[in-house]
């Protein structure tokens, strides 16, 4: 088990390295002078010079790469061009709202989607199944920000149930905190509920066609036992996979949702940095999110053998 985790951890190194190189390359391979690109059209020579120095762009590219990797290994993501503050510290300050949003979404998604998927598979082809499938197609077709504005329009503006926007940290009390999170979490969950319910349903239906399901029926097992005991456990691996993919891809949704609801999290930070062309911050956030993605994949990989003994440690 430990050896397996170590092996998996080691296997993430090349991917992380590749991410670091891609992030490094995005700026350097863009045609034109990187400093000028970052500074914008009406930059003065001093500004350009300052950017070059802060980001080390005045050195030859191989040296820049070495320096970039060296700093990364020390956990140094550089400093903001705008404020001069360390990027890592800025990220830490903005973690809270994003974590709250992501955690709430994961809890809602998993606890709603899997039962929905099971019920749909159980009633395959019937009305209930069709309803779930219709909801599912709707769920991942309607963009998060459209859902968000529809929710705001009806539940906040028309009904006045929730504040329109904003965020209160948990230290201000649970109710103000939760009240402002309900709509963002609902808006963001739609896509993932749809996705996970759909995969749960189809995985179960696929397993239901396997030979060992026929064996279970030949034993005299009831359909409930066949579904919950034999089919669901065998469908666990694809369901786990899609939950992993869902969590890993939450990031895009977080960026959008935070923008709509004005939550001061990492997603807002991305947008602020982009609008201000604060490239070290963008770079740092991309790296952070990518490592998060890789980490989630790692967790999923480690969980696989628990659900399927054929996958060995």
């Amino acid at each position: 088990m430990l050896a397996y985790i170590t092996r998996r951890l080691l296997a993430t190194i090349p991917v992380m390295a590749m991410v670091a190189v891609v992030v490094f390359a995005i700026l350097r391979l863009t045609p034109g002078d990187p400093a000028a690109i970052i500074a914008g059209d009406d930059a003065t020579t001093e500004q350009l010079e300052k950017i070059r120095q802060t980001m080390g762009l005045d050195k030859p590219i191989p040296l820049q790469l070495v320096q970039w990797v060296y700093q990364l290994l020390q956990g140094d993501l550089g400093v903001s061009l705008l404020s001069g503050a360390p990027v890592l510290g800025m990220i830490a300050d903005r973690m809270g709202p994003s974590l709250a949003l992501a955690f709430g979404t994961i809890v809602v998604t998993v606890s709603v989607a899997i039962p929905l998927g099971i019920v749909a598979a159980w009633k395959q082809g019937r009305m209930l199944d069709r309803a779930v499938m219709t909801f599912s197609v709707l769920g991942f077709s309607v963009p998060t920000f459209v859902v968000a504005y529809l929710l705001i329009y009806y539940l906040s503006i028309k009904m006045g149930w929730f504040p329109v926007q904003g965020y209160k940290p948990l230290s201000d009390g649970f109710w103000p905190f939760a009240q402002r999170l309900v709509l963002p979490v609902l808006a963001l969950s739609g896509v993932y509920v749809a996705l996970i319910a759909r995969i749960t349903r189809s995985s179960i239906i696929e397993v239901m066609g396997e030979d060992f399901i026929r064996t279970a029926r030949a034993k005299g097992a009831t359909e409930r036992v066949v579904l919950m005991r034999h089919a669901l456990r065998n469908a666990a691996v694809p369901i786990l996979t899609i939950i992993g993919i869902g969590i890993a891809s939450l990031i895009s949704g977080v960026v959008v949702t935070e923008s709509v609801f004005n939550l001061p999290g990492l997603g807002r930070l991305v947008v602020e940095a982009v609008l201000a062309r604060d490239y070290p911050v963008i770079q740092g956030l991309i790296l952070l999110f990518s490592f998060f993605y890789i980490f989630i994949n790692l967790v999923v990989d480690v969980l696989y053998p628990i659900f399927d003994p054929r996958i060995r440690y």
Binding site: L10, K219, R233
Partner: protein, 540 residues
């Protein structure tokens, strides 16, 4: 048990097409009834109908009764049907690989039967499961109890499936091709086990198979089915020695004999010489190499013009590896493959391409051997065009070849899906012959075919050899097929050749223990199907 005038039809098919019609037979306690038929005969549908396991929404019984101990299965409620399963009638399936739940231990899976149908305590159930595992002759039952299916061999898995089926001592056991996916030696053990348990509990066994060897081995009575109809029912001697129906007669006589005909060993030129061929697979590991597995070791063989050399062996013996190395679909690790004296084991890329003309291959699965998007004619001429023949000339040759393999000219314009399995295999043979190769490798080329079609394709291969003098390397797991067609036989085990010699010699007076085991395990070896009688010669 009695089946009375059973019919099964496709659900929602307005034409009311019947998958089964007028099926009636009986089976009594302690009796083994074999249901034989080729693919599409409806034998598996019959067995599923008895279990009440017809796929809901696609097949349903439309007429008749199935009486088990006087109770009509077709009229039983779903709850009653569940009660009867595993207690009154039980089933074992073809694929032990997929018939068990991969994520539960085999102990839990056998235990589930007891949980459903009995009120025994946990410890009592466990004792009973362990006793059952003992009675199917499993070693170290405690360990097996806690094993997952993927940790067991195919034969062991089938023993687990049998345990599930028989732990409650049902009145009737339905066995749907239970040994087809197994090697002959394992098959023999499983057949003996079923017979043993049947005797012990006086169970009625309904044994579904396509293999007449197995039938001759175990049947008390036989039901012959064809295209959803019942052809003939009778005792084993009735069907095998005195078949009344022409179809039965044709089927039985298509089964190749285990005793090869005496043939002169050819003394023609050597066209293929394989010298100490080895193929190792390296296991992939993250750090360093995880060692290697030898799929073939130090294999030597010679093939003469007009000769048919068979390589026989069980799965994993390395026979296909050897074939694929000779055709250079795989790269041998070491050794030489001399085609007319020229080594092709080491060349690659553009140097290899022209050499490929000399060796051609026919594969096992006729449904995957032809590009479904290409017309048959285009498939046949592909090789010729590759080597510069003009399209017109190539097409002319393709038509000749189709004639040679017994297909008409208009086949050229058609697509593979318009042909049956046997016809497709003929097309594959035509395609392989188009380049006038010296050597034809047939890798289990008749193994996927029904026995009657198999007989035709074997005959065709023999005729082609006689007419063209092509040398054939024939890979098969089936000793009967090898006996039918091969001049020389090589027996492989664990990647090595353990015995080689003229077919008659190897099959009638084997020198090696392993060869003898293989021959002993061949089912129905005491019966001469083509002559409808027991094998009389002093052989075997």
């Amino acid at each position: 048990m009695k089946i009375d005038n059973l019919a099964v039809q496709v659900v929602g098919d307005p034409t009311g097409r019947q998958v089964l019609e007028n099926i009636s037979f009986e089976i009594s306690s302690g009796e083994t009834l074999c249901v034989v038929g080729e693919s599409g005969s409806g034998k598996s549908v019959t067995s599923l109908a008895i279990m009440g396991l017809l796929p809901a929404g696609s097949l349903k019984p439309s007429r008749g009764r199935i009486l088990v101990d006087g109770e009509d299965i077709l009229a039983a409620s779903p709850a009653r049907l569940r009660e009867l399963r595993a207690t009154r009638m039980a089933m074992i399936f073809q694929e032990p690989m997929t018939a068990l739940n991969p994520v539960e231990t085999v102990g839990e899976q056998i235990d589930e039967v007891l949980r459903i149908h009995s009120k025994l305590s946990k410890t009592a159930r466990r004792q009973k499961v362990l006793a059952m595992l003992e009675s199917v002759h499993m070693p170290d039952v405690e360990r097996i109890y806690n094993s997952y299916p993927h940790q067991l061999s195919g034969g062991q898995r089938q023993r687990v499936v049998i345990s599930i089926a028989l732990i409650l001592e049902p009145r009737i056991l339905i066995a749907d091709e239970p040994t087809t996916a197994l090697d002959v030696t394992t098959q023999k053990q499983i057949l003996l086990l079923i017979r043993e348990l049947q005797k012990k509990h006086n169970t009625a066994v309904l044994f579904i198979t396509h293999d007449f060897g197995v039938v001759a081995e175990i049947a008390d009575r036989i039901v012959v089915m064809n295209r959803g109809h019942l052809v003939e029912v009778g005792t084993r001697e009735d069907i095998l020695a005195r078949p009344r129906e022409a179809y039965t007669r044709m089927l039985v006589s298509s089964v190749p004999s285990l005793i090869p005909q005496k043939r002169e060993a050819p003394v023609t030129d050597i066209v293929l010489e394989v010298q100490s061929l080895s193929k190792n697979y390296s296991r992939k590991r993250l750090f360093g190499s995880g060692g290697s597995v030898a799929a073939a070791q130090n294999v030597n063989l010679t093939l003469r013009k007009g000769e048919i050399v068979g390589i026989v062996g069980e799965s994993g013996s390395g026979k296909s590896t050897v074939a694929r190395c000779i055709v250079r679909l795989q790269d041998p690790t070491s050794g030489a493959v001399l085609v007319k004296g020229e080594d092709i084991a080491r060349v690659s890329g553009p140097q290899l391409r022209p050499k490929r003309q000399r060796v051609q291959i026919v594969f096992q699965d006729p449904y995957r051997s032809l590009n479904p998007r290409m017309r048959v004619g285009d498939s046949i001429i592909e090789g010729l065009v590759n080597f510069g023949t003009k399209r017109e000339a190539a097409l002319k040759k393709a038509r000749e070849l189709l004639g040679l393999v017994g297909l008409s000219d208009d086949s050229m314009q058609r697509y593979p899906h318009q042909f049956s399995g046997g016809q497709r295999q003929r097309i594959c043979i035509a395609r392989a012959l188009a380049l006038d190769p010296d050597i034809l490798v047939a890798d289990e080329a008749v193994s996927a075919l029904d026995v009657s079609v198999q007989a035709q394709v074997l005959k065709l291969l023999g005729e082609i050899r006689d007419r063209t003098g092509i040398a054939v390397l024939f890979i098969t797991h089936d000793l009967r097929v090898a006996a039918q067609i091969c001049d020389t036989i090589l027996v492989m085990q664990h990647g090595s050749i353990v015995e080689a010699g003229p077919a008659a010699e190897v099959l009638t007076s084997p020198r090696r223990e392993y060869t003898r085991t293989l021959i002993d395990a061949a089912p129905g070896r005491g019966w001469d199907f083509q002559n409808f009688g027991p094998l009389i010669s002093g052989a075997a």
